[in-house]
Symmetry: C2
Subunit: 340 residues, 2 copies
């Protein structure tokens, strides 16, 4: 098996000569643009195959109209969810031959976020991929309006008027989780919420409460504790819940990291899980199957979301006045494991 040498790279020109046509016709065949005769098309395809031609993405990009460089703002890489999402976005972008430009923004200020986005665009980003809380922070701002590039968000709770969204139904998913617990006889269920800046976090709280109400249970204030999506915040929140008299028999956490914290709090007190306490997570990150006992959780289809959002971003026709925002809702899966 021989490796292709760098200099000997096959160009569109070589294919054109081999097929006895112009480079432009080869381009037309590849991009399925323009009308090309069936015979010519076949001949060009044969030449491409014979020479093992692969278009040079860089050249394609230099001139192409479609966005090929994606900007992504992220925060909290230490979080398993963010780390996995970054990996998923990378894989999906690479699979489409796109370049990814990343920028961390740990602040909560709109100003700083906007300047991070500007930097990203200056560095060559031609489309913007967001996730909570950035999507919510930017939505509705004049800054976003002034951004002459397609924008999409994944994992938001609801469609947004000024950007494409790809998401799952967080309310229904959270409702399903709590109903699972109610079905198992739990009546006193603690909730560890996520940060209010994240719309998905709020939707999960809403779903939880809807399930309680639907089953004639009154959501009580002392059973609702605020968290921040972090492991440490989950641990703290669970400690407070377990200090109640009587303590809850189950804890619903708005993500896996906080659920892992709840497991720790239970272990510290020597509780027998799930007999003394049931715990649920959200996202089905890698840790869900590593902690003890394994977490009942909701699988969020992150890779599919990322791929879908990227497709919306790169297939969007080049800017031509205000586009109507698209919205896609992907399926979630409730996964029952040993923690309930």
């Amino acid at each position: 098996m021989n490796a292709p040498t760098r200099k000997g790279r096959i160009t569109i020109q070589a294919v054109a000569e081999h097929a006895g046509v112009s480079a432009m016709t080869v381009s037309n065949v590849i991009n399925q643009t323009g009308r090309v005769g069936e015979a010519t098309r076949t001949r060009v395809r044969a030449a491409i195959k014979a020479l093992g031609y692969v278009p040079n993405l860089t050249a394609q990009r230099l001139v192409g109209a479609r966005p090929t460089r994606l900007g992504l703002i992220y925060r909290d890489v230490e979080s398993v969810f963010v780390s996995s999402t970054l990996a998923a976005v990378s894989v999906e972008a690479a699979a489409r031959g796109l370049q990814l430009l990343l920028r961390a923004d740990e602040g909560l200020s709109r100003e700083r976020l906007a300047s991070a986005v500007v930097d990203l665009m200056r560095s060559g980003a031609e489309a913007l991929l967001l996730m909570p809380p950035f999507a919510e922070m930017l939505s509705g701002t004049a800054f976003l309006q002034s951004l002459d590039a397609p924008v999409a968000a994944i994992a938001t709770a609801a469609p947004l008027p000024d950007m494409a969204t790809v998401r799952m139904d967080n309310v229904s998913a959270a409702r399903a989780v709590t109903e699972l617990l109610i079905g198992k006889g739990h009546r006193r269920i603690g909730l560890i919420a996520g940060p209010p800046q994240h719309s998905d976090s709020l939707a999960r709280v809403e779903g939880h409460r809807a399930a309680l109400r639907a089953h004639g249970l009154t959501p009580s204030a002392d059973l609702d504790v605020a968290g921040a999506f972090s492991f440490a915040s989950g641990l703290d929140a669970a400690e407070r819940l377990l200090d109640l008299h009587p303590p809850p028999t189950a804890i619903v956490a708005a993500n896996d990291d906080m659920a892992a914290g709840a497991l720790w709090a239970a272990h510290r007190r020597g509780l027998d899980l799930p007999r003394d306490l049931a715990v649920t997570g959200f996202d089905d990150t890698l840790i869900a199957t590593r902690v003890w006992p394994a977490l009942t959780t909701v699988r969020q289809p992150v890779s599919a979301m990322a791929g879908h959002a990227i497709d919306l971003l790169t297939r969007a026709p080049p800017t031509q006045g205000p586009r109507e925002a698209q919205d896609a809702v992907l399926e979630f899966t409730l996964i029952e494991r040993a923690s309930t």
Copy 2:
């Protein structure tokens, strides 16, 4: 705050006009190549700043000699280590404005691996980043010799003759882990090894045995169990170790995922950790601080390794006969947590 529009992007030409020089001089200032007068340099820099100019990477790439597209082969994305490494490589590559081309290869065949690499090069990869077991599989082959592109590997156990390597001292790290346990009085220590195709895995076994010998302990065959770096394999291996009479008082696992499996085996038997059993991992992945109890482990500087390897790859002078392989050894950190 205003966003830059796509069409209005500032080019090298604009900077040149603003500074009253040629585009080539601007290029020379940016790339610090060629001799440019101090006054001119200052003027150009001012123009760059005034206009907020950022070079167009795509154009730079089309013509540039240095590799700007990195190929990476990976496997086992479900593994926390691999997922984090992918995220780390993405971040490091993006920080340098490089494009990452990914390809999964789940097989163990050299043929398939080689054809995956060829595909990657055909798609435009100009340099190749490897990790175990791929680095070991390719090293010494004629195929690698025929590859006209720089190659680097991270996380191998030893330098390799035909590629650059960036790694840590796995032998010393594993030795330190086992000595920590010996220092705490453990004399009967079980080992869950990783797959033999990974050189780092073998080095960890070696370090463990060296520690035993150094303290007059005889490595016994029944205490050494084979694993595969996966959680499930760690669980299985630990079950076998705990079935021994007498069982070990400590288990050293060659990575965190297998250590998590060992924790599960212990929990299933109702053992009190670390009193009844101490467990150690390796890598300090995200799960190390989520499992209960938190794992004593070795932090492998993955991001730094990735960054360093990428620098070696992209700063290498364009192919000019056989290069001597470079090797860098980064520091590890032994982290003691509640599992020991």
